[in-house]
């Protein structure tokens, strides 16, 4: 065979093998296999028969800060808002509410709640009256709120300017509705699921406006007052695991305490006083 023929034969073999190799499997046109997995009808949460818990008690206490909190930042000094000047910060300057420390170094707006209702505890019915979530001077009132899931929250506005309320719940349906000026009837909003962590509620039009809500399927959750004190009534008389949450707590999840164990005496009251460091708030 001459070299020419050999050269041509070599090229032909190479092209043929190239063709074979390019044809080989995988890629977009491959047909995937499908295996079926049945949906579990129920989740076995374990445990046998549940004993009823009778009797209720009260829990009270104070959450304090050790150290001096920094002066809150002023978001909008009085009368200096760039937009909606006659409404936002017109009467009172708008101050950062993310860490409010009151008398006796008590921390306000700390959420204290039970995650899941203890099995066997009778859960009182949800209140029929709606909770009111207002805004004035481009500030949400209140800054922190605990509601029952399925309880109506009425969003109102005392401001003569349009707002919107944008919620970011973890499990419930979210909401992003415009609230027109001087909305006194209230726009209804329902968090339809039990939430395990408080979540932010914002106004997109006024970027500093933020509040935190928590929706529970039981009534055992509250927030601390301005002086850091709180009180929970009607708690099931058993050992409870409490969660203590604050919006500025450092680390993931915002929990100051995830498993605060307290035993509630029947027809009695228990006290919990906790102190947290500045470092717990990332300061």
């Amino acid at each position: 065979m001459t070299s020419v023929v050999r050269a041509i034969a070599a090229t032909a073999i190479a092209t043929a093998s190239l063709g074979l190799l390019t044809g080989c499997g995988g890629g977009a046109s491959a047909t995937p296999t499908v295996t079926y997995k049945a949906g579990d009808k129920s989740v076995d949460t374990g445990g046998g028969p549940v004993t009823q818990i009778d009797g209720t008690g009260t829990l009270s206490g104070t959450i304090r800060l050790v150290g001096t909190a920094p002066t809150p930042e002023v978001f909008v000094a009085k009368g200096t808002a760039k937009r909606d000047t006659n409404v936002c910060g017109a009467e009172v300057a708008i101050i950062d509410q993310s860490l409010q420390v009151g008398e006796g170094n008590g921390i306000a707006n700390v959420f204290i709640y039970i995650d899941k209702a203890p099995p066997g505890a009778p859960i009182p019915a949800a209140p029929t009256a709606p909770a009111v979530f207002d805004q004035k001077g481009c500030v949400f009132l209140p800054h922190a709120m605990v509601v029952r899931s399925s309880q109506t929250v009425l969003i109102k506005s005392q401001d003569n300017a349009g707002h919107n309320t944008h919620t970011y719940p973890g499990r419930s349906r979210s909401f992003n509705g415009a609230i027109k000026a001087l909305e006194r009837d209230g726009v209804p909003l329902i968090y339809n699921k039990h939430e395990r962590t408080p979540f932010p509620v914002k106004c997109d039009m006024h970027s500093w406006m933020q509040a935190f809500h928590l929706a529970l399927d039981h009534p055992w959750g509250t927030i601390t007052r301005a002086d850091g004190s709180f009180e929970l009534k009607g708690l099931p008389a058993t050992e409870l695991t409490l969660r203590v949450w604050h919006e500025k707590a450092g680390g993931r999840g915002g929990f100051l305490e995830r498993k605060l164990k307290v035993t509630i005496p029947k027809d009695g009251s228990a006290t919990v006083d906790k102190e947290f460091q500045l470092s717990d708030f990332g300061l």
Binding site: S3, A10, S29, V43, N160, G162, A178, D204
Partner: protein
């Protein structure tokens, strides 16, 4: 080739020299072709994990492993998918009955003809304890369903019902990989190979990251953030005007259905991954990179004890969200017909638009150009409570987003009055555009009329109905009500001499519509 002269040479030429040269040449030729071969390495498509899983891995590998394993078990990989019955996805199911069984060959009677060859779909034999197998092939003539040899032959009695599950999911995955994957990514994370070319402008929306289960242009009420199948169908068929999402009008209806199911599959997978990561969030490293306190007990609680419960909870929430989106009760449908689109209505709409009571103009701008004052504020990230680094509005994916420039005539969610009504009433999910459902419906129709007129008549109407020619609004020049005659004396240099009209001496095109607002003096 220099070998031409060898044609005339006889066997007298030097064979040894010939062979060396020729062999070397052949080897060189083969080597030259090698780069072509290397290019076609088998591309293994794999689902990628959320970015946070890598961080989770550093503190708790148990949690990360449980997470990835559960996703693998319930969703599979792109080449080995899992059809999980807990999710409201149409995997493509055909029921039938087993007539007779010999080893791995079953004679079956199916209720409908399978649309595909049924290679590798799941077979569920509803015996006392359901047995799962995989189909290898189906012969429609002999009605023999052959199972793969991977598992032992099932024990079935004639009359056992069976289900063949997965042909639609397979079709969807193949079509998705062909048409959608290069932008939307194998995992539906919006990070496919061509997604990077869409980054050239600040506000160009990137391909949708399905993993939050959020879709912007839906027809459902505020709060139902999952999209209906019809919404996805509209987006795929019509594309999104003004973005890189093109129209796939020419796909067949069953192809569209299959792609929609696969997109839902990817969205649900992403959502469940996300919810599991939220459940495992306390295990993530703290801001300074250290493991959290109580890592051991947290790990036991979250990644082991309550993990399955969290997975079931996530699945039921996701299923509920997607199912409730399909409920016709949750569609946004106006109760009254659109108000007549006349000048009065548009003027009312304009006044509503600029009033501070609703504050449309604060985002969309006085001229509707999407440059309102709120864009100058720095927003806060709702997930981390930290401020974003630059001023401007953000969407749920933390990307900069601009309010719609209403003068452009581009409506991503559709340009029907119904579509604009839906944007105004229910807002746009995952963006700061709120739902204005508490504004009375007549007012909303006025706003719709005004918005739809902006590209044609310009955005500027004052209270007297006169047009105001603002600064750089280039459309205003054509609309001055006193300049009808401008057409006749058009003195642009490249213009051709006046055309002799065919019939009428009048220069305006005949229309069957009464003159619009701009003719008013």
């Amino acid at each position: 080739m220099t070998s031409g002269s060898r044609l005339t040479c006889g066997p007298g030429s030097d064979p040894a020299e010939d062979n060396t040269l020729t062999t070397r040449h052949s080897i060189l030729r083969l080597l030259a072709l090698l780069p072509l071969v290397v290019g076609c390495a088998d591309y293994q498509a794999e689902f990628v994990n959320d970015e946070r899983v890598a961080a989770l891995e550093t503190t708790s590998s148990v949690a990360a492993t449980n997470l990835t394993n559960s996703l693998n078990t319930h969703f599979g990989t792109p080449n080995a998918l899992v059809a999980w019955g807990a999710l409201p996805i149409e995997f493509g199911e055909i029921s039938g009955t087993v007539l007779s069984a010999t080893g791995n060959s079953l004679r079956v009677s199916l209720e409908s003809d399978p649309p595909t060859a049924l290679n590798h779909v799941a077979v569920v034999l509803e015996t006392k304890t359901p047995q799962n197998r995989m189909a290898s092939s189906y012969d429609a003539d002999t009605r023999i369903l052959t199972l793969t040899e991977q598992e032992a032959a099932p024990a079935v009695t004639p009359g056992t019902p069976l289900r063949l599950i997965g042909h639609k999911l397979q079709a969807g995955r193949r079509l998705y990989m062909r048409h959608c994957m290069h932008c939307h990514g194998v995992t539906g994370d919006g990070n496919g190979p061509t997604a990077r070319y869409i980054r050239n402008h600040r506000f160009n929306p990137l391909p949708r990251d399905y993993r939050r289960g959020l879709f912007k242009f839906t027809s459902t009420k505020n709060g139902f953030y999952a999209a209906r199948r019809d919404d996805l169908r509209r987006t795929i068929k019509q594309g999104l005007a003004g973005t890189y999402m093109p129209s796939f009008l020419l796909l067949e209806p069953d192809e569209l259905d299959a792609i929609i199911e696969f997109v839902r599959f990817l969205a649900m997978r992403g959502e469940i991954e996300r919810r599991l990561l939220t459940h495992l969030a306390p295990l993530m490293p703290t801001d300074d990179g250290n493991p959290p306190r109580d890592l051991q007990s947290l790990e036991k609680e979250l990644a082991v004890d309550t993990f399955n419960e969290a997975l079931a909870d996530a699945a039921s929430l996701v299923a509920e969200n997607w199912t409730s989106a399909e409920d016709p009760e949750n569609l946004v449908i106006p109760t009254t017909a659109r108000l007549p689109d006349d000048e009065k209505s548009r003027l009312k709409g304009r006044n509503l638009f600029i009033s501070t009571k609703i504050n449309c103009a604060k985002c969309h701008g006085e001229g509707g150009r999407g440059n309102g004052g709120f864009l100058k504020d720095i927003q806060k990230n709702p997930e981390t409570q930290q401020n974003y680094p630059t001023p401007g509005l953000r969407d749920a994916w933390h990307k900069m987003i601009q309010p719609r420039n209403l003068t452009s005539g581009i409506y991503r969610g559709g340009r029907r009055p119904l579509d604009v009504y839906r944007r105004v009433t229910a807002g746009i999910k995952a963006t700061p555009m709120a739902g204005f459902a508490t504004v009375p419906e007549t007012d909303r129709w006025h706003i719709v009329n005004y918005v739809l007129s902006i590209p044609i008549d310009g955005a500027f109407f004052d209270e007297h109905g006169h047009q105001y020619h603002g600064g750089d609004d280039s459309h205003a020049d054509h609309d001055h009500p006193h300049d009808h005659e401008a057409d006749k004396s058009d003195d642009k240099p490249d213009d051709k001499p006046d055309d002799k009209p065919d019939d009428k001496p009048d220069d305006k095109p005949e229309t069957t519509q009464p003159k619009s607002a701009k003719d008013k003096k």
